[in-house]
Amino acid sequence: MVKSVWHKCLDRLEHELSSDQFNTWIRPLQARQADGGITLLAPNRYVRDHVESLFLQRIGEMLDQEGDPANPLDVALDIGSEVPAGIPLRADRRASGVRDDLNRAFTFETFVEGKSNEIARAASVQVSQNTGLSYNPLLLYGGVGLGKTHLMQAVGNAILDKDPESNVVYLHSQRFVQDMVKALQQGTMEEFMRYYRSVDALLIDDIQFFANKLRSQEEFFHVFNALLERGHQMVLTCDRYPSEIDGLEERLKSRFVWGLTVEVEPPELETRVAILMKKAELEGVDLPSDIAFFIAERIRSNVRELEGALKRVMANARFTGRRISIDQVKQALRDLFAIQERHVSIESIQRTIAEYYKVKISDLLSKRRSRSIARPRQMAMYLAKEHTNHSLPEIGDAFGGRDHTTVMHACRKIAELKESSADVAEDYRNLNRLVST
């Protein structure tokens, strides 16, 4: 009854107010039946105060007109949220009593292994089989969108599969901070700490967000020690090696790397292809390998972007009723490809290389062959081949009119050095990231 009256008011308000006003202030209100009236829930204090001062009186009048005259409805405003309809929690999560953040789809079976992540995967499998014993904590670090969260949750899901009763908690570090702030405000810190100290496995994502949050670091330090003492497993992820995080206490930096610290690297072409095909398979879509190659050759930065592109291709195929083909992919992703082409050019690569190695662009294009110039030039050619669709003669031309065989030699050289020299491998990783973003 209350909801239907509220819906009538909404219809009237939509016609009385401007579209911006209605959508900004009235649309987010959720009606809840209250004792003898109706409570409108606003998402935050700001919306609540605004509605109260500008619209509440009018809403009250409308409720009187639309409701039962014999039982006038009182209207109140509060901050909060009803559980929105249409977004059911998964039954298996509800039943297990686990926080609903652990995504059951992130398993080792759905994780695509490649050279870039095989060690991280092996370590994660080990941890899930020997919880609290093999590596504690396990810290996975690497750039954004490379699958760290997937691996971490796969550990959690594997632990749950072995023992559905175990108390596995996955959360983002920001959520830890928010929960802690709430506990401080409500005077429930003891409960908060007891909860986290009692879990069997704690998975915390993106610990770099603890930077500069001293109270959170303090509390997390105690949680960390308590869990480690009891042999309860911790898995952490970070976007860089912990010692590189500014604003993080030294004692935490050192503890984070007590167990095993493994890097997840950007996936190489074959892994990107395999990821695309796996994601398509999970969506029940048949993605031929030549098309997967076509997409993976052009989207190189991270797995998230690959996934986003695939979703766009699938949505376009559904909309147009066309089969997925190279032409259809070109059509669906034309804007994305155009942006990427614009972003990564031979010139932009030359600029990035010159800045990184502290050399001049003119040196890269010159005839000079000293090691300090030749190596950056070779790296630039290698990246130009990987990141652009220019032919080898075109790349050679762009480097002071060199022959395409020089480009081939440069690419072979860097490919070898990437395997044999840790320094070159690290330079490549850094440059690859710089060029892609």
Binding site: Q21, N23, N44, S81, K311, A315, D335
Partner: protein, 236 residues
């Protein structure tokens, strides 16, 4: 011919609900289709709409919120103007949106660069992602051209399904004018639309602005929409 005593017009906002059904798609039919289905898609949905001013981003965002609300999915819309006019208030307005089924953030450009705003948007994103809800963003540029300060937010939003909104062609603009006029209770004769398209500003935002001025004059003078009226109001 104008009446001796022009009708006094009060400056009440006139609610013209922006619905997906009233969006003139032109070359943007695919994104409209995606938005119509986004509340029933499996899993987390993140869409990024970009395009120049007047391509219908705000209409689509408000329309998808309306569509979601009709399907009983709690929806919230936040305009970038909030961040521009009062950054502190804008940040406060972002709080609590993670609990919704669909959140539409308009003019994301306005939020970026505000201290704490990217972290706040990240929080909203994470909550919606965890709850498999939907986040629809509108911005002037595609995510790869946006200078994010927070890498974690950048990588997530750059993975959104991106749709560029294209400007309407002339038949599309004509259809839009007729539809807007009808919503406001006017019949727009073909010769008037043709005249507006031939002689007036051609981008959609300016065209709609011209129409608002013509409508105002027509109401004040109690006249029908005619070419002479258009000429007089727009000084053509």
């Amino acid at each position: 011919m104008s009446v001796p005593h022009p009708q006094l017009l009060l400056d009440f906002p006139v609610g013209t609900a922006k619905a997906l059904a009233s969006f003139v798609p032109g070359p943007n039919a695919e994104v409209l289709h995606r938005l119509q289905g986004c509340t029933t898609e499996d899993g987390f949905v993140c869409l990024w709409l970009y395009g120049t001013s007047g391509t219908g981003k705000t209409h689509l965002l408000q329309g998808v919120c309306r569509h979601a609300a009709r399907l009983e999915v709690a929806a919230a819309y936040l305009p970038g103007s909030l961040a521009e006019s009062d950054p502190e208030a804008g940040l406060q307005a972002l709080r609590g949106l993670g609990g919704y089924g669909l959140v539409a953030l308009d003019d994301l450009d306005c939020w970026l660069g505000l201290p704490g705003a990217e972290e706040a948007v990240f929080e909203v994103y994470q909550s919606l992602y965890d709850r498999q809800a939907a986040l629809i963003i509108a911005c002037g540029a595609p995510p790869n051209d946006v200078p994010f300060g927070l890498d974690d937010l950048a990588s997530r939003l750059r993975a959104a399904s991106c749709y560029r909104l294209h400007e309407l062609d002339d038949p599309g603009k004509e259809q839009l004018l007729v539809s807007v006029a009808r919503e406001r209770g006017f019949e727009l004769p073909g010769e008037v639309t043709q005249f507006l398209l031939r002689r007036g500003d051609r981008d959609v935002a300016a065209l709609l602005n011209s129409f608002a001025r013509i409508e105002h004059a027509a109401l004040a003078d109690q006249r029908r929409l005619t070419v002479p009226l258009v000429k007089r109001v727009l000084g053509l």
